[in-house]
Symmetry: C2
DNA sequence: GTAACGGTTCGACGCACATCGAACCGCCCG
DNA sequence: CGGGCGGTTCGATGTGCGTCGAACCGTTAC
């Protein structure tokens, strides 16, 4: 079971919104937007490894992130261009407010 | 238990995204954006009354819609201004792509 | 006053999800 | 080659959600 990424034209608004509609994942997306590509393990939010893996899978399968394998590491990045192409303005709107939390 | 609406400053991104992350509710929002204020019963998507009521409640409690009581009817409308104030561009982005579904 | 109608609430049910620990797999480094 | 590390997968568990029918409530109409 290789890492799956949905095609750009297969991105689904509902799925993306659902993926973004979780505090943990929203935080991950915010971090990826700010810091750029990250190694999976570098992102720790006080959750277990399995839960983290679960969220990354959810984001990836919704088409929000792209995962690149390099050795034992997984490099994760935002699919900014694809998201902007399918849902123009959406990511920006989410990030703009996500950047200013409380 | 009167109809509750969250204050504009209490709107939460995660909650809004979660509310929008459902096909039925997304369809309702799209309809409200296109047709303006609607009576609850005028919106039928092949779901039961109770399910419809449930979705309207979810949208309302997330701050996406405003419900106005008039006699036996409930008039529902989008909280466009409030959403734009809290999450500028978000609603537009969602509607723009939601307008072109399949 | 009584019936009909618009909506809500109440279980109930099934499903999906967030979370965890533990087991597992692949790769790298001694 | 063998151990450790980065990540995934596998149950298991609790919880929340979408859906329904049925019962209920307020208002309007007759």
């Amino acid at each position: 079971m290789d890492i799956f990424h949905p095609a750009t034209e297969d991105l689904d608004l509902t799925s993306v919104l659902q993926a973004l509609g979780d505090p943990m994942r929203l935080q991950i997306v915010r971090l990826l937007a700010g810091e750029g590509e990250q190694i999976c393990g570098a992102i720790d939010l006080g959750i277990s490894k399995s839960t983290r893996s679960h969220h990354f899978k959810a984001l990836r399968e919704a088409g929000v992130t792209f995962t690149r394998v390099e050795g034992t590491h997984r490099h994760v990045s935002l699919r900014r261009d694809d998201l902007d192409a399918c849902f123009p303005g959406l990511l920006d709107a989410v990030l703009q407010t996500a950047r200013v939390p409380a």
